[in-house]
C-alpha cells in the first residue's frame, strides 16, 4: 500500500503537465532572453504560460512574475513592498497563522526596524476584516493575510480584507499557495494587490511559482542581475517549470469543480468516519466546510503524540503530516494549533490529512481502519490514557 494523504505538502506532477513540459528540456531549450529563434520559441512558451496564469486569477499577463516558488514570492512581495514604502511608513499587518515564509519574512523586517502586528485568529483560525481594519495605522504600508491555511485549511475572508485594504489605501498581499486550484480567486474582485502561488501545490512541478503584482504597485526588485521579468526579477527563466505551471493552473481551474467535489466527498466521509469511530479527538479548523480547503482534515488525538501516529501510519503505507514537535525536529508544537486555542498537550497529538484528486474511497476506508488501529495501539501504550480510564486526565 502506498497512500498519499499529504497533498498540502506537495502534489505529484500531472502526467498532462509533464507532457507539456517535456519539449522544453530537449527541443525548445533556448534561453527565453536570447534573440535567436531558440530563445524566441522559449519566450513564446513563457508568454503562453503567463496568459494561462492571468486567465486563472483574473489579472493581466503583464502582472505575472515567475519565481522559484511560494517562499520566494512571499519574501519578494513583503520585503519588496516594505523597502519600497519605508519612507511612507514602517508598519505591516499580518496574522499569527501565516506560513513561515511570511512570518519569518516579517520577523526579518522587524530586525530592520519595521513594526509588525500579528493578528490573533478565532478558535477556527479566522481573522476578521474588522480586526484588520482596527489594526491599520497612518504608517501601515502592507497587509498580508493568507488565502487558506496550510495546516487547518481555514479559508480567510480575503475579499472583505481586500476591500478594507483598498478603502484605507494600504497594499494587500495574500499567500494563496494552498488556495490556488482549490479556491476561486479573482484578484480584481477580491481587491488583491499581490498574490503568491506555487506550482507543485496544484499538480505542477516543484521549483516554479508566481508573484502576481498589480500594475502600478511599485515594489523593489528581488534579485539583481539580468533584466528578466520586466527588470524586476533577474535570473534565466525556468522554461519547463513555467510551462508546467501554466498548464497546471489551466487544468486546475478548468477541473476545479469536478476535482473539488471528489476531494470534498472523500474528506467529508473521512471526517465522519473518524469522528464516529475514534473517541477523545478534537477536529481543528473551520467547522463550516464551505470555508475550508476541500481536502483538509486536521485532528488532535488525546493521550498520544503526533509523530508516533504519523510513523505508525507510515508503517501501514499511509503518508500524512503531523503538526507536532518531533516531526519537524523542533520542540515546539504547531503555532497554528496553539493560535486557535488547542491545548499544548493536544497540539502534540495532531495530524493533518490532505486529500488530493487521485485519492479513492478504498484508500480512505483503509486509512480509517489503520488510523483506528494506530490510535488504539498508541493509547494502550500511553501512560496518560491509563489515567483517563481511572480518575485523572493529565498527570
Amino acid at each position: 500500500m502506498r497512500i498519499y494523504l499529504d497533498n498540502s505538502a506537495t502534489t505529484y506532477t500531472d502526467p498532462e503537465v509533464f507532457e507539456a513540459m517535456k519539449p522544453y528540456f530537449f527541443e525548445t531549450y533556448g534561453n527565453g532572453s536570447s534573440q535567436h529563434f531558440f530563445g524566441r520559441e522559449a519566450l513564446a512558451a513563457i508568454d503562453r504560460a503567463r496568459e494561462q496564469v492571468a486567465a486563472a486569477i483574473g489579472c493581466k499577463p503583464s502582472e505575472v512574475y515567475f519565481t522559484s516558488g511560494g517562499t520566494e514570492s512571499d519574501n519578494w512581495a513583503i520585503k519588496g513592498a516594505a523597502h519600497a514604502f519605508a519612507k511612507k511608513g514602517r508598519h505591516i499587518i499580518t496574522t499569527r497563522v501565516e506560513h513561515p515564509a511570511v512570518i519569518k519574512t516579517c520577523e526579518a523586517l522587524e530586525r530592520e526596524g519595521f513594526e509588525v502586528t500579528y493578528l490573533d485568529v478565532d478558535g477556527e483560525g479566522f481573522v476578521t476584516p474588522e480586526a484588520v481594519e482596527a489594526a491599520i495605522r497612518p504608517d501601515t504600508i502592507l497587509i498580508s493575510v493568507m488565502t487558506a491555511n496550510n495546516e487547518i485549511g481555514t479559508i480567510e475572508p480575503i475579499r472583505e480584507i481586500g476591500a478594507v485594504a483598498k478603502a484605507h489605501k494600504v497594499l494587500f498581499h495574500t499567500d494563496a499557495v494552498q488556495a490556488v486550484g482549490n479556491v476561486d480567486i479573482d484578484v480584481v474582485r477580491d481587491n488583491i494587490d499581490m498574490l503568491s502561488m506555487s506550482a507543485h501545490k496544484f499538480y505542477g512541478p516543484k521549483g516554479a511559482g508566481v508573484l502576481y503584482k498589480r500594475n502600478g504597485v511599485k515594489i523593489e526588485r528581488f534579485m539583481d542581475g539580468g533584466e528578466q521579468e520586466r527588470n524586476m526579477r533577474a535570473s534565466t527563466l525556468n522554461t519547463p517549470g513555467i510551462v508546467g505551471l501554466g498548464k497546471a493552473i489551466e487544468l486546475a481551474v478548468a477541473g476545479m469543480e469536478r476535482n473539488n467535489a471528489h476531494i470534498r466527498g472523500l474528506r467529508d466521509y473521512f471526517v465522519k468516519q473518524v469522528a464516529a469511530r475514534i473517541p477523545h479527538i478534537r477536529f481543528n479548523g473551520a467547522g463550516d466546510f464551505s470555508k475550508r480547503l476541500p481536502g483538509n482534515a486536521n485532528f488532535s488525538f488525546e493521550y498520544i503524540e503526533g509523530e508516533s501516529i504519523l510513523m505508525r501510519l507510515d508503517l501501514a503505507g499511509i503518508a500524512v503530516s503531523s503538526g507536532s514537535a518531533c516531526s519537524s525536529g523542533s520542540l515546539e508544537p504547531s503555532y497554528v494549533l496553539l493560535s486557535i486555542g488547542v491545548p499544548i498537550e493536544l497540539a502534540h497529538g495532531s495530524i493533518r490529512f490532505s486529500f488530493g484528486k487521485s485519492n479513492t474511497k478504498e484508500e480512505t476506508d483503509y486509512t480509517v481502519d489503520q488510523l483506528c488501529k494506530t490510535v488504539e495501539f498508541l493509547r494502550e501504550l500511553s501512560p496518560l490514557f491509563k489515567n483517563v480510564k481511572g480518575e485523572e486526565k493529565y498527570v
Binding site: Y303, I304, E305, E307, S308, M311, L315, S324, A325, C326, S327, G329, S330, L331, P333, I344, E345, H348, E380, L381, S382, P383, L384, K386, Y394, V395
Partner: protein, 135 residues
C-alpha cells in the same frame, strides 16, 4: 530521518504495558514537552526479572523505551543504574540529534524506577538522584 533499526523497534516494540505488582516505578518527562515515559520493574533479590514501559511520545521515545526495558531485564539494580543513554543509542545504531533526549529520558525512567525500589525497600538513595525529574 530514522534508521532501519529504529523503525524495526518502533514497528514491533517489546515490553509494553505496566507491571501491576511491581517493585519500582519511574515516570519522567511531561505532556507539555511531548514525552512521558513510565517504566515499571519486577525485582527479586536485586535482580530485575521483568520490565515494562508505557510511553507518550514520538517514535524515538517508544523505541528507546522498548530497548531500555529490554536491556535491564536480567541485570542487577546496580548494573541497571549504570545503563547510559549512549548504550541505548548504540543499540539503535544511532538517533537523529534532536531525538537524543528520548534516550536520556529512557535512562532517567530506569533510574527513577530503581530509585523508587530503593525507597520502598528503605535503602539509601541511588547516586545522582538529585537530577531525576518526577512528574
Amino acid at each position: 530521518m530514522y534508521n532501519q533499526k529504529v523503525m524495526e523497534v518502533f514497528a514491533n516494540p517489546q515490553h509494553m504495558g505496566f507491571i501491576e505488582d511491581n517493585d519500582g516505578v519511574g515516570k519522567v518527562g511531561n505532556a507539555t514537552c511531548g514525552d512521558i515515559m513510565e517504566i515499571s520493574l519486577k525485582i527479586k533479590d536485586d535482580v530485575i526479572t521483568d520490565a515494562k514501559f508505557r510511553t507518550f511520545g514520538c517514535a524515538a521515545a517508544i523505541a528507546t523505551s522498548s530497548v531500555a526495558t529490554g536491556m535491564v531485564i536480567g541485570m542487577t539494580v546496580e548494573e541497571a543504574l549504570k545503563l547510559t543513554n549512549a548504550k541505548v543509542v548504540e543499540y539503535l545504531e544511532g538517533l537523529p540529534p534532536q531525538k537524543i533526549h528520548c534516550s536520556v529520558l529512557a535512562e532517567e525512567a530506569i533510574k527513577a524506577a530503581i530509585e523508587n525500589y530503593y525507597e520502598r525497600t528503605g535503602r539509601k538513595k541511588a547516586d545522582g538522584d538529585g537530577e531525576l525529574k518526577y512528574v
